[in-house]
Symmetry: C2
Subunit: 335 residues, 2 copies
């Protein structure tokens, strides 16, 4: 009853189930996979695997399907696969001529969803301390203004503020000039100090503090984290293995950025390379029938790309695709 063979059986079950989406039985295994033993032996192994919680039967007299725990073992120890050459090429050509950060992210997410046939998610490169390059104020009607902050690392933040009382043009223009003088090229504590001084100077416009705080947060790494996704139709496509009523909550979770962001953060903490959450491991009811494969990218690996699909998914393939896209993104973003 070598453990090795038992693992081979588990691997065969996972691969079989993923391929056919039907419970796999001992006989079929013995015949199609070259395991070199009879179906009876496989049955014995299966009994043990079931006892250990790696596989389960939907009902008596059906084949076995992997449990979350089974997939976990498979992913951790049994999977291995290279990325098809065609995919590698696709990544290069598809992403090479993006004009813009948005464009890069947009293309990546589409590409990844096509390669994996899953829902792809890309978290916007999470922002880090960066010097301020330019602050611009634009009047919007009489009572509001738009604050635009361009950072040295090519990020652009914008936000509207109320002006409170009417500000004369002259004061407005002076504010723009002065704040740029105070902020330009500065970061972190130095920036904060300079802006504090500016906002606190006598006779200052009443909305100076508001602007200052926007500029500071922008320099500190931007306002909010965002996630974009693509390929949601893959959830609904025939043979996804998800019931119609399972997919509505998943779509909700996706639109509910917060949930997804928290999950991705947790996964980032995992560390190395590609990390995988399987079914209930997502700790989220709506996602309990799905798995997520994610990899960090960008400098200090602060952002994440991932693919989300039914627990019954092609782990080796998705892991390879996610890894490849993450690598490529790192290269593009780091320049």
């Amino acid at each position: 009853m070598s453990e090795e063979r038992r693992h081979a059986v588990l691997r065969a079950i996972v691969e079989g189930y993923v391929a056919t989406h039907e419970p796999v039985g001992s006989k079929a295994l013995a015949e199609t996979r070259a395991l070199g033993v009879s179906s009876a032996t496989i049955r014995n192994d299966m009994a043990i695997l079931e006892e250990e919680g790696f596989i389960a039967q939907p009902h008596t007299s059906a084949g076995r399907i992997p449990t979350d725990k089974g997939y976990r073992l498979f992913v951790d120890h049994l999977a291995a696969s290279a990325l098809p050459e065609a995919h590698k090429r696709a990544i290069g050509t598809f992403l090479s001529d993006a004009v813009d950060l948005n464009d890069v992210v947009e293309r990546s997410v589409r590409l990844l969803s096509q390669l994996t046939r899953q829902v792809a998610v890309v978290q916007y490169p999470s922002l880090r301390e960066s010097a301020v390059r330019r602050v611009e104020l634009v009047r919007l009607g009489a009572e509001h203004a738009l604050v635009v902050v361009v950072s040295a690392d090519a990020r652009v933040d914008q936000q509207t503020i109320p002006l409170g009382e009417a500000t004369p043009d002259e004061a407005f223009e002076r504010a723009v000039r002065d704040i740029n003088e105070a902020a330009q090229g500065r970061t972190g504590a130095a920036l904060e100090k300079a802006l504090e001084a500016w906002a606190g100077s006598p006779g200052q416009v009443p909305w100076a503090a508001a602007v200052a705080s926007i500029v500071v947060t922008a320099a500190r790494g931007g306002t909010v984290e965002r996630v974009v996704f693509a390929g949601t139709s893959n959830l609904a496509r025939a043979g996804s293995g998800l019931e119609a009523d399972t997919i509505a909550p998943v779509l909700d979770a996706l639109e509910e950025q917060v949930v997804l962001l928290r999950l991705l953060h947790e996964m980032a903490a995992g560390g190395d390379d590609v990390s995988v959450r399987i079914g209930a491991e997502t700790h989220h009811e709506a996602l309990s029938r799905t798995s997520i494969v994610a990899a960090a990218y960008g400098r200090d690996a602060s952002s994440l790309v991932g693919a989300l699909g039914p627990t019954r998914m092609d782990y080796p393939g998705t892991m390879a695709a996610v890894r490849a896209v993450a690598r490529y993104l790192s290269r593009v973003v780091e320049l």
Copy 2:
């Protein structure tokens, strides 16, 4: 066989079918709706309505359901409804404290999807000629730069360009200064002329033409049109009336912005107030089982909000919600 009563019957069928999602029969109608006639009479009316193509039977000995043509008549002549007071309030409170154009759009689309329980779509306010307020260039590595254009109407456009050969810092800074001088406050033809002169001036940096063209398109109204949506889970939710395999193509069409944009444009041409496309009227295979209710907003009604759902949807309710959100958006965006 007054036409009036026949229309009343059609209205009753539409309302009944929308409510229950089941074919409605003559008897049930006679009992629940106060039409003042017997089921036999209704049956006669139904026979005529069917002959005229307004209703159909899924199979003999089932009730009738409205056809696209039936819904069309209903929408054009028979529907009328006010927006629930609670919804009106929701719109005010929900949208009032948005900080930013993105935020407004984001909130609107969520709100609308909640009010209608459909997929909501909002096209970004489509841009119009506007003066340039500031052009900023940011180096990205040695070979690329980011061009940021802030327009007087509070739009921010950005795009990356390759620098070609190395540009000395000094030339770079001079370019920034000069282009701002040329562009600031200018629009349209004047802007184009000024930038042409700038780009053509002797000893100019090699990438000047690229920057100039970006600035011109930005001033002309921005780069691309975009659509955001929310509430896709409403498609999958139980009782949406859409089959599992119908919804995948719909999700694809949504992500395929182009399709949606073209459709919205067509609808905008329709003109007045709220316009509706029912089923096959969308002229799009993937959407043949869905309807879209859309309304224009913004100055010169150039942009659109809409709700998309199964043909079997609550038209009066959705129309009211879409109209209300469009009105509100107009007010916010026009300031």
